[in-house]
Symmetry: C2
Subunit: 414 residues, 2 copies
Amino acid sequence: METLIQLGEKAKKAARSLARATSSEKNDALRLMSQALVDHTETILTANKLDLIAAKENGISENMIDRLVLTEERIKAMADGILEIAELPDPIGQVDGMWQNEAGLTIGKQRVPLGVIGIIYESRPNVTTDAGSLCFKAGNAVILRGGKEAIYSNKALIHILQDALQPTVFPPTTIQLVEDTTRESSKEMMRLNRYLDVLIPRGGAKLIQTVLETATVPVIETGTGNCHVYIDKDAQLTMATDIIVNAKCSRPSVCNAAETLLIHEDVAETFLPVIEKALAPWHVELRADEKALSYLQHAIPATQEDWETEFLDFILAVKVVSSLDEAIEHIDRYSTGHSEVIVTDNYAAGMQFHREVDSAAVYINASTRFTDGFEFGFGAEIGISTQKLHARGPMGLTELTSSKYIIFGEGQIR
Amino acid sequence: METLIQLGEKAKKAARSLARATSSEKNDALRLMSQALVDHTETILTANKLDLIAAKENGISENMIDRLVLTEERIKAMADGILEIAELPDPIGQVDGMWQNEAGLTIGKQRVPLGVIGIIYESRPNVTTDAGSLCFKAGNAVILRGGKEAIYSNKALIHILQDALQPTVFPPTTIQLVEDTTRESSKEMMRLNRYLDVLIPRGGAKLIQTVLETATVPVIETGTGNCHVYIDKDAQLTMATDIIVNAKCSRPSVCNAAETLLIHEDVAETFLPVIEKALAPWHVELRADEKALSYLQHAIPATQEDWETEFLDFILAVKVVSSLDEAIEHIDRYSTGHSEVIVTDNYAAGMQFHREVDSAAVYINASTRFTDGFEFGFGAEIGISTQKLHARGPMGLTELTSSKYIIFGEGQIR
């Protein structure tokens, strides 16, 4: 088993050849990787079975097993995902602006790869191919560190991807896996400053917390979403109901699902019973403040903790507010800065919400569920950043790049 | 003396009001701050005298004292600097792109402030007003932590700036100073994740190293420049000489000064004696590899360490290389990723250098000394980033901002 330093050294070397590659060299390699997944479906399924046996022995939850399991269809989807990445425009080499300075130098800002990207993730083996191929397309070497539950699947996948690179100009070390899945290796990776240009953790609140406490490598924090829907006094009942039902129930386990409903006191009495009825088919548990309780049939009292919690489940905190300002203050205090919605027909209220709410995605009259790289039209997504540095919101290929200034002179000195 | 947590809480609150301010509110406040510096020149000079007395008692070097000392002219320059910042276009609110997605949502990417910025710097008191006013213009609250050598000057400056904010909509806590100048307070600041959105260290290699080892707050690394000038076989002698003299001697103490000269073996014999003569008036010490030594009159042998060192002095490492590739490999290995130059009349060599050298600023036929926010035409500079995340190269106002997505819907659900 290679040490992280060995992986890091090889990745850094691979990054250099990758940064110099043309788009067609990268796209051809991606197509080979995609085909290799299809060709080796049996091998992947066999490896995945080993993970599933171990998972059952370790009494892992059904939910987790569902994330872990691969089928022929899922492998086909992973292969198709790589093909789609091959079709995306290449951000590398693009010059975002070019100008002449006072000394007559022509200065351009050109997109270049970040270098070596580390990704720490949990049980889904599809992240191995998704994240690996996205980093590759953006010209980066990648070191992947998946969860121990998926280690057999991940090893098989990486072996296949590396093998697919054999006939190309890229060394297999372009995409590497950390086979040591102990917590120590994870922490060591978080401090691998010499080799990693950025670390992207993809996982639950606990992983993100460990990264924040431990990492000295530059990190892009992703995916904690305590998202709010605020129904203004000037909201339409049907639109408000549709949006909260969609934001809460269409997929509650993801970070762009809504967790708290804030509602203006002027409409609470009329709207809340309708909303409760609309949420009933999903058995959504409502945890309400005192005022909201009085309008709801089956709600239970909310605790302080409920305002802070990303339930990721069929649970919704409900609070009646006396004004838009109070709604914004609540969001300021409890939001993780992911996605927030105002439902209103009032122009001024919408604009104030846009201006004053400080989150990655701020919506007027739409569901939080749209915060997603594909829905935004990026054609890909490596995660949703909830930090303000480098990238904020859904991250596509561009967010996996850096820039350099290229300067054309004719002997200028200063 | 307030604790860092108290400063952090106040800054976070101030950041909210700052984010909602209009450009004219901010510019008016900047003009008041500028005027206040001029009005209180005497107070600032008196405080500065206390720092100078302490500096002399502590036997601080002349070089350091020169950085510390304020005069009426220097204070006027600081005040003028703030006025210039007031005149710059406000990046906040700008929408960098707006499009419609498949669901018919109108999605825009809008510039917003980062929030709270921490700056750790050393003895120059002008950083207090420069950095403070730049962060302010970009809508950020700032916590400044200057060196203990300048504590009296910094306290006076901050007091004057805060006082100038009294008639404005901004709380004085918009710009704060850490008065505790112990190393512990500095380290605590590096881990103030709850309050700081980013930390920008401005100082020598030792400070940067401590930050890298200690910080858990997102950091923008600045200002280490082991910069290279490569003279190609197809270079013009006069241009090559002018560029290396300018890059080394015009201001050796700054990060964009050149530290190593690489020269192609085909021209070493002709060029090196001319270059040595041109550098002689500055008494530049040449530390050369074996080949270069044979062409130089007064050089001494270079050690391994010399290739790695940012001398910040009238010292230049010199190495003869057999090819452009060897030059690029040397840069790859020893550069800090700041600024590198090729001097050549060969088109293919210039393009290869641009493509393959991975530094913030890559020049053909110009001096490294142009790597500077003002020279690039940004109208301001908060530092020169040598990292790849968020910002790379000279950082102006835009680099002190983040973005958020503003989304206009009409009831869309997913």
